[in-house]
Symmetry: C2
DNA sequence: TTGTATGCGTTATCAA
DNA sequence: TTGATAACGCATACAA
C-alpha cells in the first residue's frame, strides 16, 4: 500500500526564490496587476511555469476574497425539467469563472435548510435556490451571513429575495385555454401532492382561471392528485377512470405525469386526441419523443438559467442587496396530443 | 443601493473570549477531541451557540485538512443515463460528509482536462471522473498533485487509475444475443460518432461478439452512425432505410437513439416488434415510458454510484494509492420492443 | 519598482 | 487540563 506523495508544496515563496524576487512581485504578476517591471514579470512567469505553481485558493479565500464558486439547490435531478436547467447554469457559471456545488434537496424543506447552511459554511459566493416554495427558519442564515441568493423557478412567500421565475399560473391558463379553444369543456386536472411544491398550486390556480374566463364550472371531482411523476400520472389517471368521472381532456401539471397519463389512457383503449386530449407542462425533452407528441407548455429554461446566474453574479460582484424580480413568460407548444383549434 | 452587511466575523477567538478560555480549548471542543474538562466544554458550547459560531472551512483547509468536497465530471446531464447517477453520487457523497462540485465536459477532451485542473485548484479531496475514454496530457495533473481519482463508467486506456465501470462489451453482447434468441439474423446496429466515447466502441465489439458466437456474418452496411441522441437515432435509422439495407432488428447503442429509431420506424409504418425488433442500451427512465416499452440493457447505476463514491472516499481517507478495479455486470431488460424467445 | 511585515481563522507544538 | 504561539499560503499596507 504505497502512500500518495504528499500534496503539492510549491508556494508563492518558492516562485519568488527561484525568480530572485520577493513574494510581493509574484503576487502582483499572478493577479495581473501592474507595478512590476517587464524584466521581473518575465522571470516570475518563467519560474511559475518551471515550478508548475498554482495559487492556493483556500489561502486567497481566507484573505477575504471570493471562492469563485456558487451553490445550486434543486429538488430533483430526475424530473426531466432539471437537467437542461442544470446544464445551462453550470455552463454559464463556468463561463463567468464560478464552479457549481450541486445539492439535491428531494423537495424536503429541512434538507433545503440544511443544504443552505452547508453551502454557507463552504463559503460559496452565492446561491441559486430552486426552492419548493415553503419557508423554513433555517433560511435566515442567508440574512445573517449576508450570502447573496437568487430564488429561481418560484417565489418563497414571506421570504423576500431576488427572484427569477416563470409565471406558472399564466402557463397553466394558456394550456387550459388551448384545450378550451379546441372544443373541450370537461377538463380534468392532474396535480402533484398538496404539500409538494407551490408551483403545483400556481398551476392549479391557472387551471381555474381558464375555466372562469370561459365560464366553465369547476368540479372538484375532476381533480386527481398523485406524485409528480410517470407513476403518479398513471395512478391519478386510473383514479379518474375508476371513479367514473366524465372528462374529454386532461391537463397534467407536468410532463412526466402527462406521459403516465397517456400510457394509461392508451392501455385502456382510448385514442389521443380522438377520445381524450392531453396537455402537459414543462416541455421536457421526452415530450417530443413519445407518441403522440405531447402538447405542453415550455418554460424558457435556457434564458432563465442564464438570467439567474447573471443576476446572482451581479449580486455577488457588486455587493448590492437589491431585491429584484424577473418573471419569464411560458410558451404554448401545440403538438399531437391535443386537437386543433375550432372555428375562430 | 444598500450594501450587504459584511460577512460574519465571529471567529474562534470570539468564542474563546466569551467562554473565558483559550482558543486551544475551543478548537478541541469543536473538533470533538478530548482533553477538555466538562466545565470548560459546557461553557464553550454555550458560547458557540450564543455567538452562532461556525468554523471557517477555508482556514481549516489551509492548515492542510480536507475540504470535504469532491469533484464530479460527466460528459452530459441531458443524456438520461446521467441524472440517476448524479443523484446517487450526490446523495452518497453527502451522507459521507462531502459536497459535490459538478462539471459538465460536453464530452470534449480539452474540457475534461481543464475541469480536472480547475477541481485540483479548488482543492477538492478527490475526483469522480466519467471520462469519454480518451487520454489527454492534462490528466497528468492528477499524478503530479496526488489527487485521488476514480474513473467511472469506463476505463481510460493508457492511464492507470482506480476504476469502477460496467462491462459495456458484455452488455451489448447480451442485447444482441437476445435478439438472436428471438430469431433475428439481420441485425443492424446504431452507433454514436467514432471519436465520441470509448463506450461506443465497446458496445460495437459486444455486437460483433454476439454475431461471431452465433456464426452470423458481420456486414458493414448494417452499421449506422449518428449522434448518441434522439435526433441521432432518427438520422441513423433514416440512413438505414434510405440505403435500402435489409434488417429485421436493430441494436441501438443507447436508449435515446433507440427511441429516435422507434419513432422513425413507426413513422414509416413499420410495426415493432412485428416487423422490426428494437433493443436499446442504458435503461433510462424513458425506456419504460414509451410505447412499445423498450427492451434494453441496464447498468446497475445505483450500486455503481455508491461503489464509486465509497471507493473514492476510501482513497481519500486512507491516503492510499492502490489502483483497484471493479466491473459491474449489466442486466438484460426484456420488454415489448423485441419478440419473445423462440423454442429452447 | 520592489521588499517586509502583518493578518486572515485554524490546528498543532510545546510549555506550564 | 490548559495557554501562548508558530505555521499554513496569500494579499496588502507600509517602507524603502
Amino acid at each position: 500500500m504505497k502512500k500518495r506523495k504528499p500534496p503539492r508544496a510549491v508556494t508563492i515563496k518558492d516562485v519568488a526564490r527561484m525568480a530572485g524576487v520577493s513574494i510581493w512581485t509574484v503576487s502582483r504578476v499572478v493577479n495581473e496587476r501592474d507595478g512590476v517591471s517587464e524584466a521581473s514579470e518575465a522571470r516570475v512567469r518563467q519560474a511559475i511555469k518551471a515550478l508548475r505553481y498554482r495559487p492556493n485558493i483556500m489561502a486567497r479565500a481566507l484573505k477575504g476574497r471570493a471562492t469563485q464558486s456558487i451553490g445550486l439547490i434543486i429538488p430533483s435531478i430526475e424530473n426531466p425539467v432539471f437537467p437542461p436547467l442544470v446544464k445551462v447554469i453550470e455552463n454559464t457559471a463556468a463561463e463567468r469563472g464560478y464552479s457549481t456545488v450541486l445539492c439535491i434537496s428531494d423537495g424536503r424543506l429541512e434538507k433545503e435548510a440544511q443544504q443552505l447552511e452547508l453551502l454557507v459554511d463552504k463559503r460559496v459566493d452565492g446561491i441559486l435556490f430552486n426552492a419548493m416554495g415553503g419557508y423554513h427558519e433555517g433560511f435566515e442564515i442567508l440574512r445573517e451571513t449576508g450570502t447573496p441568493v437568487v430564488v429561481i423557478g418560484r417565489k418563497i412567500p414571506g421570504f423576500e429575495t431576488t427572484n427569477v421565475s416563470v409565471d406558472n399560473r399564466l402557463g397553466a391558463k394558456m394550456a387550459v385555454d388551448h384545450l378550451i379553444r379546441t372544443g373541450m369543456r370537461k377538463i380534468a386536472v392532474l396535480l402533484g401532492q398538496l404539500e409538494a411544491s407551490s408551483a403545483i398550486e400556481d398551476r392549479f390556480a391557472g387551471y381555474k382561471d381558464a375555466l372562469a374566463t370561459h365560464e366553465i364550472e369547476f368540479r372538484e371531482e375532476r381533480v386527481a392528485r398523485g406524485n409528480w411523476s410517470f407513476a403518479g400520472g398513471v395512478a391519478a389517471t386510473n383514479d379518474l377512470l375508476t371513479r367514473g368521472v366524465e372528462f374529454d381532456s386532461i391537463f397534467a401539471s407536468n410532463d412526466s405525469a402527462a406521459i403516465g397519463c397517456i400510457e394509461t389512457l392508451l392501455a385502456n383503449g382510448l385514442r389521443i386526441p380522438g377520445d381524450i386530449s392531453v396537455i402537459g407542462y414543462d416541455d421536457a425533452p421526452v415530450a417530443s419523443m413519445i407518441r403522440p407528441h405531447l402538447s405542453t407548455v415550455r418554460a424558457p429554461n435556457a434564458l432563465f438559467g442564464v438570467q439567474a446566474v447573471n443576476t446572482l453574479v451581479k449580486l455577488v460582484e457588486t455587493g448590492e442587496d437589491a431585491h429584484s424580480e424577473v418573471v419569464f413568460e411560458p410558451e404554448l407548444m401545440v403538438r399531437d396530443s391535443t386537437g386543433s383549434a375550432l372555428g375562430s
